[in-house]
């Protein structure tokens, strides 16, 4: 638009040379200038107006992806040669893919093969460790950032296997080269029997394995690694701890799972039971519980963070379990099913957890693949199968794809578009059962210490905080502002009004950061000291006004002067200041009279309310102060715009000023008062700095006047600088902004329509 503007200027500069032009050409030029200017101004006007709607549209565009459904597409299919053995024993196969989805592999009993994607061409590795090819009878992935496997052999040993991807850059081109190394094997089954089922996990204190033999014996083995100070350096010592677990149900085990601390062993049985052992003391495992999952359990996996357990069954059901501590029963944790997700048509054959969130991928015997998310309880993607069972599946490290191996030897990669699995309407606005909690709760806690943290995106606590702040601030501001406006408009002498109104309006110009600073650093600590006095003020000021008012009536009118003059205002100020001063002086006495000498204790004992220094009462005062001038100014305008001849008529008909006020003026001006309140409300709802500085910003949900809260606006200010661009938190904060935008728009539109109506009505008089 600036450009358009500047083109208009040269034209405007032409008139001096107009003498050269003929009259008609001049006229044409002037006409064109006029048209041009009209065009430019119209364009400029529309551009401004367009940009207003553009803001709304942009906020909406940023928010929309939160609710986009996930999508998938099949990318590469490679036919590979799988042995019959793999098909018979799918527990013996694993697949994996690197984070850029460039290199994938198939690990099986007979060896290992790497492929480049998306071309599907095999990679030949120079060196491959000897892992007793053909002798591997069971393999287990140790979940985590790296690809670590335990290979169980025919002679009861476990070989750790590490797959890493070495990335090199040359001329800005990335090349990925897989490297496979094997660790020190150890004996997991002392009898030397083949391992049929294996769970393997690398913990900080050494690897741990749970191995089930074909004859149904379960052995738990831990390589306890400790660092001992040797003669010259730290020497690694390792000690092999082993126990056989002999509990009922062991022989029916079909899947095993270990947690990352090596403290929990889980097992699923063919008769549908979930077994839960505490193995903190490896040599003394305790069976903590046995839970029914219905039918035969075919897959078990932890989600990231190792708190939620995904259980897949033969019937295709997928459920998430969690260990909870029941306060009624006592200290021991127990497992509880917290949610069911969409079922598969066939038995669940593989579960692969996401490495970044609480999502996971499941595959089944009918060949279909699904992606679920635990926190939001939703199944995001269902890829239909072709009837061929899936042997192994892996959710790509960046959750943007999957690698799947099916029974007919096809290795398939999928691209998955799944940006915001955490957000659904219900996960944002309805209570959710989060990890480590006992009940459905509304919680906002967007970031945590580690990757394994489960983000809690319940918006309700913040919306609640917004409402809380708004309600308290409006409760304080409305009476002061509206009553003040009534007095100023109706009873005050015009000369005083000409001073008072601008003074109150100056308050409107006061930056809210100043009010926030004063509220947080001056008023909050002060209020903590003088709280009893403030309570007394609310009681005593009305009383004082009544007493002085009655007394004032008894004074001879010679002293009083006309109503609404300076003397009267001075009396109000004196009464007010005097009462405030008195209350402050009597602070301690009041505390002992009303609150038993300790108001905090009294509040706690009488109402069970805790008193925080930065609380809603402080906010009510500060935000009230920010909004009083707005409400005052608009109310005063609408009251004094009531046509004077109506008032004069009412007074002439014998009504007292009071009757005129209540029966005529307030009623006529009520739409104006309404719009004043609406505009004030809009201002309070979005106020940021005061709330940011004068509350604790804790997203708690209670209406306690004496503790803090967090509002939508403060939440944006606190979290936006840390939110990664395009992430779920970023978009959720945009959603918070959009909510504010929509709410204030509704409120303001309402106010504006009412005001325009009012204006139209009075223009008739």
């Amino acid at each position: 638009m600036n450009q358009a503007n500047s083109t208009a200027h040269p034209v405007e500069g032409t008139p001096p040379s107009s003498s050269v032009l003929s009259k008609s050409r001049l006229r044409a030029l002037r006409r064109w200038t006029d048209h041009g200017a009209r065009g430019v101004i119209t364009l400029g006007g529309w551009a401004t107006i367009f940009s207003i709607f553009g803001i709304f549209a942009y906020l909406f565009i940023e928010v929309a992806p939160l609710f986009y459904p996930a999508s998938w597409s099949q990318k590469t299919t490679v036919e590979i040669d799988t042995s019959d053995e793999a098909r018979q024993n799918p527990r013996n196969v694993a697949v994996g893919i690197n984070e850029y989805m460039e290199v994938g592999y198939v690990l099986g009993g007979r060896g290992m093969a790497f492929y480049t994607f998306p071309t599907g061409s095999p990679i030949h590795l120079e060196s491959m460790p000897d892992f007793e090819e053909g002798d591997v009878t069971a393999l287990a992935r140790s979940p985590g950032k790296d690809d670590v496997y335990g290979l169980g052999t025919r002679v009861g040993r476990v070989i750790p296997l590490y797959v890493t991807f070495r990335v090199t850059f040359e001329d800005g081109v990335r090349t990925t080269e897989p490297v496979v190394t094997a660790g020190e094997p150890f004996e997991a089954v002392p009898t030397g029997d083949p391992i049929a089922r294996l769970a393997y996990r690398e913990t900080d204190s050494g690897p741990i394995a749970a191995a089930l033999t074909g004859s149904g014996r379960l052995f738990l083995t831990k390589m306890q690694e400790s660092e001992a100070e040797g003669l010259f350096a730290l020497e690694k010592e390792s000690e092999l701890l082993r126990t056989e677990i002999i509990d009922e149900g062991v022989e029916a085990l079909s899947v095993l799972l270990l947690d990352d601390l090596g403290e929990t062993l889980l097992g699923g049985t063919t008769d549908g039971r979930l077994l839960y052992w505490d193995i903190e003391d490896v040599q003394n495992p305790r069976l903590m519980g046995m839970y029914s999952a219905g039918t035969s359990i075919t897959a078990l996996s932890y989600l990231i963070g190792d708190r939620s357990i995904v259980v897949g069954t033969e019937k295709g059901t997928v459920s998430v379990w969690m260990s909870v501590i029941n306060p009624d029963v006592g200290g021991d944790p127990r497992l509880q099913k917290i949610r069911d997700l969409a079922s598969h048509d066939g038995a669940v054959t593989a579960v692969s957890p996401s490495l970044r969130d609480k999502g996971f991928l499941t595959a089944d015997a009918s060949g279909s693949v699904a992606v679920h998310h635990s926190t939001s309880s939703q199944t995001l993607i269902r890829i239909p199968g072709n009837g061929t069972a899936i042997l192994a599946a892996m959710f790509a490290p960046k959750t943007d794809g999957a690698l799947v191996l099916d029974g007919s030897g096809r290795l398939i990669t999928y691209d998955i578009e799944n940006e915001h699995p955490e957000s659904t309407f219900s996960s944002l606005f309805l209570p959710v059962l989060y990890e480590g909690y006992e009940e459905l709760l509304h919680i906002w806690q967007s970031t945590g210490g580690s990757d394994a943290f489960e983000p809690k995106f319940g918006l309700w606590p913040i919306m609640f905080g917004t409402l809380k702040g708004t309600i308290y601030a409006m409760l304080l501001a409305t009476p002061l502002a509206v009553l003040g406006a009534i007095y100023t408009a109706m009873f005050m002498h015009p000369n005083i009004r000409a001073v008072v109104k601008p003074v109150v309006e100056i308050m409107e110009a006061l930056p809210t950061v100043v009010l926030g600073f004063l509220a947080g650093l001056w008023f909050a600590p002060l209020l903590e000291k003088i709280f009893p006095a403030v309570v007394a003020m609310f009681l005593l000021i009305p009383l004082a006004v009544v007493v002085v008012c009655v007394g004032w009536q008894l004074l001879p009118s010679r002293l009083k002067g006309t109503s609404g003059n300076v003397t009267e205002l001075a009396v109000f100020l004196l009464v007010l200041a005097g009462t405030v001063w008195l209350c402050l002086q009597l602070n301690h006495q009041i505390e002992s009279w009303l609150f038993n000498s300790n108001y905090k204790g009294w509040l706690q004992a009488t109402f069970g309310l805790a008193y925080d220094q930065r609380n809603a009462l402080v906010i009510a005062f500060a935000m009230g102060m920010a909004v009083i001038p707005t409400i005052f100014s608009i109310s005063e305008d609408s009251l004094s715009n009531v046509p004077p001849h109506l008032i004069a008529g009412s007074l002439a008909l014998g009504a007292t000023p009071w009757q005129t006020l209540t029966k005529l003026v307030i009623i006529s001006a009520s739409p104006g008062l309404f719009s004043a309140l609406m505009i004030g409300l809009g201002r309070v709802v979005g106020e940021t700095m005061i709330v940011l500085m004068a509350t604790g910003n804790t997203p708690v949900m209670d209406m306690n006047l004496f503790n803090g809260f967090r509002t939508l606006s403060a939440n944006i200010a606190v979290e936006m600088p840390e939110a990664p661009h395009g992430g779920t938190l970023y978009r959720l904060l945009f959603l918070a902004g959009l909510l504010l935008f929509v709410f204030t728009s509704i409120v303001n539109t309402l106010a504006e329509i009412v005001r325009q109506r009012l204006r139209a009505r009075y223009s008739q008089f």
């Binding site: 101004i41 400029g44 006007g45 207003i52 009476p479 004063l518 650093l521 500085m693 606006s713 600088p721």
Partner: protein
């Protein structure tokens, strides 16, 4: 009698009194807040007297008296009023750990304000209160004793401050320039590399330039070290009131005052000098001391850029709505939209600015024009331009509404007269209506500026920082650096008051910043009101 009461109640006088009290309460609140800011802000510059208290246990406390209060829950039968205590700013943070100390009044044996104690304003650790024991040059003692030392110290401080300025100049201007050139050269080389011209002779040339610049850099750094050593040559041994010593290089002292020895005139002079140094100096000690010059500068720059952006948009829109558009449903809807925009919370504008200006527009500019600097963003991060644009959006309704008001105040006769004389619509707009509406536009602009000056929330997302390394305006081409981050008075209040490690010690600084901000905002608003009143009066007179 009951009749009288009934009459009194129905007369509504009581209600009127409540209304009046509400006005009084509002006035009291405004007055109270302004008074609070004034007292705390203006009191900051005054050289406060130093009190030396001797306590009953024989120890002494030296510092500025900062208030007195009744100790909570200290009422006893003997003291029904409760005991009192005083609060002193004792400084010497490096020795005591805390800047403030409470002393129970009944512990004080003797209160005195000796003339020979001094307050030393230091570059680090805040103020030191005490006396001088000796001044040394290296190992040699130059002056001993408080009196002699004080006399010797004054010229030394002056000398050290000069030297400090020189070091500052070298560091910021000379070395800063070299660093700037090195960075520019690096980017130029990277740019050539990106264009696959790694082998071109220009690259070699530039690399040679870099080496040369680095050599220069080393040379200046050596000079800098020499100067710093020189600065540390003189040291002063200070002693606090209980006899603990602290040796300090003279270069660490910014100024030394003996407030108890100063006359009223001297104090007034010092008051204004302090005021000026706060306005003109750079901040120190995580913004809690020194001045607020960069924040003032940043605020002014941002507001200027914003004005340039907001006026054309606002004025064009107002002219369109008032003069060109056919009044009807659409204009009504647009008016409502404009009013809505005025009511949208400022943080929402911040969110929009971050998403649209910073990430979308800025990110695009970076990939198109600054690929050599990537992945370090140039415009793809918060900066003064984006902050100004965001505030321009925020304040555009203010300008529209004010301009419209200005336009509606222009009497119809003017328009009709101009058109009747044969002017086209645009000509009468430009020559007649615009000059008449100018006060309205100006009012709008001033109100917009006042609003932008006090707004903080959107800036926090679009480019304000607690400490900007460089001003957005300097002598490097292209002089105005729109992409730079900046400091802002309002954010300074938030940051120093709520993010600094020692909030209690930072409070005076916050009050001063608040005072300056509030003064600016109020002056702007009052001038807008004055212009508007003047305009109304003028047209009222001419309309008759």
């Amino acid at each position: 009698m009951p009749d009288k009461i009934k009459k009194f109640l129905s007369s509504g006088t009581l209600f009127v009194w409540f209304c009046g009290t509400a006005v009084a309460a509002s006035l009291l609140m405004v007055g109270g807040v302004l008074l609070l800011i004034m007292i705390n802000g203006l009191g900051f510059f005054w050289p406060h007297a130093l009190m030396e208290l001797t306590l009953r246990d024989g120890t002494r406390v030296l510092g500025e008296l900062k208030g007195e209060e009744v100790i909570p829950h200290s009422e006893t039968p003997e003291f029904p009023e409760g005991k009192t205590r005083v609060r002193l700013k004792v400084g010497n943070r490096d020795l005591y750990g805390l800047d403030f100390r409470w002393v129970d009044t009944d512990q004080i044996a003797l209160a005195d304000s000796p003339k020979d104690v001094a307050a030393f304003e230091r570059r680090e650790w805040g103020n030191f209160y005490g006396r001088i024991r000796e001044i040394a040059k290296g190992e040699d003692v130059v002056a001993t004793g408080n009196q002699e030392g004080w006399k010797a110290l004054q010229p030394l401080i002056e000398w050290a401050n000069d030297l400090h300025d020189e070091i500052e100049h070298l560091q910021r201007d000379v070395i800063g320039d070299i660093n700037f050139d090195i960075e520019e050269t690096r980017l130029r080389i990277r740019e050539l590399e990106l264009r696959a011209q790694r082998e071109s002779p220009e690259v070699a040339e530039l690399q040679a330039v870099t080496r040369q610049l680095e050599a220069h850099y080393q040379k200046h750094v050596a000079t800098l070290r020499a100067l710093s050593r020189q600065l540390d040559e003189y040291s002063v041994l200070l002693v606090e009131t209980n006899g603990r010593e602290k040796r300090l290089p003279v270069g660490q002292i910014v100024k030394a005052l003996r407030p108890n020895d100063m006359g009223l005139f001297e104090k007034i002079l010092r008051y204004f000098m302090n005021f000026w140094s706060v306005l003109s100096e750079e901040p120190r000690e995580a913004n809690t001391e020194g001045g607020i010059f960069p924040a003032i500068f940043g605020t002014v720059m941002m507001v200027l850029i914003m004005s340039v952006a907001v006026v054309p948009f606002g004025v064009l829109a107002a002219f369109y709505l008032r003069e060109y558009a056919r009044q009807g449903l659409i204009v009504r809807v647009i008016r409502i939209a404009v009013n809505n925009l005025a009511g949208v919370p400022s943080i929402v504008f911040g969110v929009f600015g971050l998403g649209f200006f910073v990430y979308a527009v800025g990110g695009t500019i970076d990939t198109l024009f600054y690929p050599e600097a990537l992945p370090t963003p140039t415009f793809g991060t918060g900066g003064i331009l984006w902050a100004s644009f965001t505030l321009a959006l925020l304040t555009v309704p203010v300008v529209i509404v004010s301009t419209e008001e200005g336009l509606s105040a222009v009497p119809r006769e003017y328009r009709e007269g101009s058109l009747a004389l044969g002017a086209t619509k645009f000509e009468s707009m430009l020559r007649v209506i615009l000059p008449c509406a100018l006060p309205g536009i100006l009012t709008g602009l001033i109100l917009a500026v006042a609003r932008a000056t006090g707004e903080v929330a959107p800036l926090m997302l679009t480019g304000v920082v607690k400490l900007a390394p460089a001003l957005p305006l300097d002598h490097h081409f292209p002089f105005l650096h729109f992409e730079r981050k900046f400091m802002h008075l309002g954010f300074h209040i938030f940051d120093v008051g709520f993010q600094s490690p020692n909030v209690e010690a930072a409070k005076p600084m916050v009050y001063v910043t608040t005072l300056i901000l509030v003064m600016v905002v109020i002056v702007l608003n009052l001038s807008a009101v004055a212009i508007r009143n003047h305009m109304r009066k003028k047209f009222k007179a001419s309309a008759v």
